[in-house]
């Protein structure tokens, strides 16, 4: 009895020193949420850390794999995910994909009305003379993405969209061949990127921000990321 009491006391004495840590995925992934937000809502004021909430899980897994294998280059992300197993990445991706949190608006740089109009034109119709397809032709009519591997473009900050398009052009962001997004980005010039990013970032969000169903778009280019059937399945 005395022994039990001593043991209990000992355990309680130690426990009072040690913080109580919840055994939850949310707690385990503070390395992710400290930049991307507890619910993957992004980080207002740090526009380079994108929102993850509601993005297709397969897309998120693929991005982590690309940071592991060097297709995407960003040292802090490469370091953070370098050892994660496929199962753990899947679990983390599903967590963020399931989160439903309101979008926050981020400030736009000063751009002219012509630039915004040019952006809308490129996003909605592309520029056939320069073989630039419309963003909507792959990313969905509402630009909310397409399951399982195509991310939404609305609700992202200007800084993030423009820096990512730049990364596609400089090959510090890439995906499996044929890399259709790299192809599209290489056809954009700096003013196109400003226009597209500004218009996308200025756009009001549709009522339903979920990604469209798989197979609901017919991509104009051959995309490795979408697999042989073109819908990522």
């Amino acid at each position: 009895m005395l022994l039990v009491a001593v043991t209990l006391f000992g355990a309680a004495g130690h426990a009072s020193d040690a913080p109580t840590i919840p055994d939850t995925l949310q707690q385990r992934i503070v390395a992710c949420t400290s930049c991307h937000g507890v619910h993957g809502e992004g980080k207002p004021g740090s526009e380079f850390f994108p929102r993850l909430a509601g993005k297709p899980a397969a897309y998120l897994v693929r991005q982590m794999q690309h940071f592991q294998n060097g297709l995407r280059k960003y040292a802090p992300m490469e370091y953070t995910v370098r050892q994660l197993s496929p199962a753990y990445m899947q679990e983390i991706a599903e967590y963020f994909a399931e989160q439903q949190v309101p979008y926050s608006r981020s400030p736009l740089p000063p751009v002219t009305a012509e630039t915004l109009q040019r952006g809308e034109q490129l996003v909605s119709n592309g520029d056939p003379t320069r073989k630039i397809p419309a963003c909507a032709s792959c990313h969905g009519t509402q630009l909310t993405g397409v399951e399982p591997s195509t991310p939404g473009l609305v609700g992202l900050p200007y800084d993030y969209i423009s820096s990512q398009l730049g990364s596609w052009r400089t090959h510090t962001r890439a995906t499996v061949a044929p890399d259709c997004m790299a192809e599209v980005a290489s056809r954009l010039n700096a003013s196109d990127i400003t226009a597209v990013a500004a218009w996308l970032a200025s756009r009001q969000l549709p009522a339903d921000t979920h990604a469209q169903a798989a197979g609901s778009v017919k991509p104009p280019l051959s995309c490795g990321v979408l697999g042989a059937t073109g819908d990522g399945a």
Partner: protein, 434 residues
């Protein structure tokens, strides 16, 4: 006086000839040794196909963590292609799959042994010691044979290896002759009959295949490890992490670690004393977690026998650091104490203690600084498939804040390590992660 002039002339001519010969040898001297083809090998092809030998080789290749260097990021295992950065230039790591053109497909065991044991290529050329033959020379003939059998059993991958891009004069392979005289002692591990079989097994693994000393000892300006520096800790060149001293005794980097603590860290990536991170996390994930319990215990037994170390010099801080440390304590309370505890003792199995943690108190402060900047997950092992993680603070804390909090944890509780300055933090903020 004529004879004196003649003598001087003779000496001059001799000196010029000698110098000329030396230069020609340095620049053009090649070792024209003929490789041993597989057909000429004393090892029968059937021997290399023995499944038991291959299985044993697979284990040894894991113990040696060959895959750690012999693959590029996202590249095929053992196909090489990684650029190993050294202070002397970049060394591309070769393809060791059995591809005939670009790998070891045309190698015999004799060629492999010459590389592993003597640090020479199959034509007799001197190999750069980025390939740690300074340690591998201790590997036994039988173990080397098993490793070769395993490597030859892999699917061949065609991926040619680029030529080394080293600065002059290191670009001359023959300059290694002098380096080898200083730092390389060829010879298989010899058991110490005065020690237990377990100790000897541990010593063999640590000194040989495990090549622990290649990181856990300081390198001098020529990139060598003086022979008397054994596991005394050192900064890893280019990678800029500090590989701590491995003695468990007085003033050792692992002071107070039990054998079980060592086994736990190598097996699971964490122990009651610390968590592996940086390059050691990779070593645990790819190599040590796959080692048998018997081998891990042998390693622990050997490390436990390393001698006590001298007390480090207590340097006076270059300025009055009281305000810095106090500021650090505030940051610690706000940002760190929720996980690591106010007393710095962490939460066993979840968050590592900082009190008495050698990674916090190692001489340079690099490890704590970079851990605060980078954060990251504990090693992902069979024992911990869903590890907890730490936020990267690079985006949240300024250089001066990081130096404050790191200085605080290096001096709080039982820790007594020198403070870290703001300029040290700025240096490591941009350090590449590989």
């Amino acid at each position: 006086m004529k004879w004196l002039r003649r003598l001087l002339l003779l000496m001059l001519v001799s000196a010029v000839l000698l110098l000329g010969w030396l230069l020609v040898w340095l620049f053009f001297g090649t070792d024209s040794q003929q490789p041993t083809t597989p057909a000429m090998s004393k090892v029968a092809a059937a021997t290399l196909r023995d499944p038991a030998l291959i299985a044993s080789g697979e284990y040894l290749v894991k113990v040696g963590d060959c895959a750690g260097c012999h693959a590029a990021q996202g590249g095929a295992a053992f196909a090489g292609g990684r650029l190993l950065a050294t202070p002397f230039g970049n060394i591309p790591v070769p393809n060791i799959t059995p591809d005939r053109e670009s790998g070891l497909g045309n190698w015999s065991f004799e060629d492999f042994w010459q590389a592993l044991h003597s640090g020479k290529g199959r034509h007799g050329e001197l190999l750069y010691p980025a390939f740690s033959y300074t340690s591998y020379t201790k590997v036994t003939h039988d173990d080397a044979l098993a490793m070769f059998a395993y490597l030859q059993s892999l699917p061949p991958v065609h991926q040619p290896t680029a030529a080394p891009a080293l600065d002059f004069p290191y670009s001359l392979r023959n300059s290694l002759t002098a380096w080898r005289a200083l730092y390389f002692k060829e010879g298989v591990f010899e058991s110490d009959p005065g020690q237990s079989a377990q100790w000897n097994r541990g010593a063999y693994l640590v000194q040989g295949l495990g090549h622990c000393n290649e990181c856990h000892a300081a390198r001098d300006t020529l990139g060598g490890t003086p022979q008397d520096e054994h596991l005394t800790g050192g900064q890893i060149p280019q990678q800029n992490w500090y590989a701590p001293d491995l003695s468990t005794q007085g003033n050792g980097g692992l002071q107070g670690w039990s054998e079980q603590d060592i086994v736990d860290l190598l097996k699971t990536g964490q122990s009651a004393k610390s968590v592996a991170f940086g390059p050691m996390a990779d070593v645990v994930v790819q190599s040590t977690q796959h080692m048998t319990d018997a081998d891990l215990l042998a390693v622990a037994t050997y490390l436990h026998s390393l001698p006590a170390r001298a007390q480090p010099l207590q340097e006076k801080p270059p300025f009055n650091a009281t305000a810095l440390v106090q500021h650090g304590e505030q940051i610690y309370t706000q940002r760190c104490a929720d996980c690591h505890g106010k007393n710095g003792n962490g939460v066993t199995g979840v968050y590592p203690p900082l009190n008495g943690n050698s990674s916090v108190t190692e001489p340079t402060g690099i490890n704590a600084t970079r851990s605060v900047l980078l954060g990251g997950f504990a090693p992902l092992t069979v024992a911990h498939p869903r590890p907890y993680s730490m936020p990267p603070f690079a985006q949240q804390l300024s250089d001066s804040d990081v130096s404050a909090v790191v200085s605080y944890i290096r001096q709080a509780w039982t820790n007594k390590a020198p403070v870290v300055q703001e300029r040290d933090v700025s240096k490591y903020r941009q350090t590449p992660i590989d």
